[in-house]
Amino acid sequence: MTTAAAPVPLGVEVARPGRQANLWRDTLRNVLRQRNARVGLTILGILLMAAVFADVLSPYDPDQTLLGTEKRLTPPCIHLLGCPADRVEHPFGLDANGRDEFSRVLHGARISLQVGFITVGFAIVLGMLLGLVAGYAGGWTETLIMRVMDVLLVFPALLLAIAIVAALGPGLINAQLAIGIVAIPVYARVMRASVLSVRETDFVTASRALGESAFGLIFRRILPNALTPIIVAGTLGIAGAVLDIAALSFLGLGAQPPLAEWGSMIGQDRNYVFTAPYLIWFPGFALALTVFGFNLLGDGLRDALDPRLNR
């Protein structure tokens, strides 16, 4: 606390020629310095590979029943770990319909990652727009928008999502829509808070004095400087969205069988928890790992991007 340098708004940095690439490189370096972010990125990288190459990596079609040749609910068998060589190898065993659980869990990664990104993307776009308008316009517009957001926040998220899915009909798309709608207030609030803090800064006033239009002010001056908290909230939000959609699918309201979605697989096989617990373990572990990865990355991003929260 000796030389109190005035905080330099990000926008000023960007304006300097030749600095933009460095800004991104600096940010990346800051993020990678966080242990949480490194572990999170590694986990998510592995999951992303599993999702992209699911077709190549999985030994069977995830929807194909192998009942003609094998028994259903066969426990896991890995030759390397001492499973007799005369048995067919199934690392995660076979499910109640005789499908290869390993192939299904691999394909589940694809669905969960897609679903997480799309849902949060939807919520962020709408939430950001509402927050921008509320923060920029102020007055009655702001009161109306933010009160509606308050109302949405009063309901327990999953119950509201269940009600929305019940209104729209069960299915993965509707479940995404429901979880997305429920998540909107979070981003609207974050965005509004950022806009309020950026709106009165000197560089925004300067742009306005130079005759920049409202549209330009919002999208060129205010938005870029309010993105950091949205990125952090969004990363943590993906973790929550993946969990909630899996929960809806578990209840039978999201992904419908035979789709290889982790929550739906656990829901379908939950009655085998005492006889074939591996059908719960493996998709459950994959689900927890995905959420864990996004949580770690989100924590790391927050520590790297928001020095005020640095601990």
Binding site: D150, V154, G169, F250, F274, P277, I280
Partner: protein, 358 residues
């Protein structure tokens, strides 16, 4: 302070109105004709017209809404379409179970969470700290339904026959009778509000067992609640542990703590008497926020452990289009949540004078 409370209460009113409106709209948006859903696809038009007239579905939506508001103002939550039983009665049956579960879950989450957080902050950057925080990160990542099934399989199957085995479903061991408090206290013919309160308390089985000194019921009910409470409480526990740690680490770096140390106080006394009370402030908010999450988790926990609570009942009502029950239950839940937020805000203002407006 009084002005602050009044202002805070006034803000709640439009939100409450919005909640009622939203609950009403979502109820009407559910697809399908309620008559055909409840009475069957082959119900004749005349029967359905009569049905719609009886429940007021033939009137304009605005009229229906004002009628609903009017009934609400008189404390009437309506009756279930499916069973014709009053929603209030259903609430007295179902809510105590969820409340009981949530209380034990929250108790577990706060005690263990604060303990772990304090240990982590006290020994920060030690192996215990790193392990606890990694555990907390993992704890927030495990879905309630996976953890629930996992606990059930470990404690009901793997540990079967050992003293650690716990029941995986239900509220009481079959065969065990629980006597309602109203019967025990000779209030069977009483039908006033007092009876409702007694029934409500009576349906919290552990409290019932305790009040009527039925120790076998009390212990059995507790044993049935341990696994669900742990499953439900784990995510809040992890969050509470993390907040306690970071808040306490912050406070421990402040000047007055240095002063306390300088005057010769031991580490334990510094943490317990000086640091902890101030570090608890953010916890009030966090614990309050977790209560809303608990209700979401309760739907899943009650599904897995076959507990007849309000979460499961709401889920059933939503999927079977029982409007009155959906409206009544979500409304009560939302009001409860609003109320909790109010208490959190007020206690925050009470605890931290800086927030209190002049």
């Amino acid at each position: 302070m009084t002005r602050y409370i009044v202002r805070r209460l006034l803000i709640t009113i439009p939100v409450l109105f919005g909640v009622i409106l939203l609950v009403f709209i979502v109820g009407r948006l559910l697809p399908g004709d309620p008559c055909r859903i409840l009475l069957g696809e082959r119900a004749s038009d005349a029967v359905c017209a009569d049905f719609n007239h009886r429940f007021g579905f033939d009137r304009p939506v605005v009229d229906q809404f004002t009628a609903y508001l009017g009934a609400l103002a008189q404390g009437d939550l309506g009756s279930s379409f499916r069973t014709s039983r009053p929603v209030a009665t259903l609430l007295i049956e179902r809510l105590p179970m969820t409340l009981e579960l949530s209380i034990y879950a929250l108790l577990f989450a706060t005690t263990v969470g604060i303990l772990l957080g304090v240990i982590s902050a006290y020994k920060r950057n030690s192996a215990i700290d790193v392990l606890t925080m990694a555990g907390a990160n993992l704890g927030v990542s495990i879905p309630v339904f996976v953890l629930g099934l996992l606990l059930a399989s470990v404690f009901a199957l793997v540990l079967k026959g050992t003293p650690f085995s716990l029941p995986p479903s239900g509220r009481l061991t079959p065969g065990l009778e629980i006597v309602p408090l109203a019967t025990r206290w000779g209030m069977v013919n009483d039908h006033g509000p007092l009876r409702a309160v007694v029934d409500f308390v009576s349906n919290m089985y552990t409290v019932n067992g305790l009040l009527s000194a039925q120790w076998n019921v009390f212990i059995d009910a507790i044993r049935h609640l341990i696994l669900p409470a742990v499953a439900l409480g784990t995510i809040p526990l992890a969050i509470i542990a993390r907040i306690t740690r970071s808040s306490l680490v912050d406070v421990l770096g402040l000047d007055y703590i240095r002063t306390a140390r300088a005057k010769g106080l031991g580490d334990r006394a510094v943490v317990r008497r000086h640091a902890l009370p101030n570090a608890m402030l953010p916890l009030v908010t966090i614990v309050g926020l977790q209560i809303g999450g608990l209700l979401s988790g309760a739907v899943l926990t009650e599904t897995i452990f076959v507990l007849p609570g309000v979460g499961l009942a709401t889920y059933d009502a939503i999927t079977s289009h029982d409007f009155a029950v959906i409206q009544g239950f979500t409304l009560v839940i939302a009001i409860g949540f609003l109320f909790i937020n109010l208490i959190v805000d007020l206690s925050y203002a009470y605890l931290d004078p800086r927030i209190r407006p002049a």
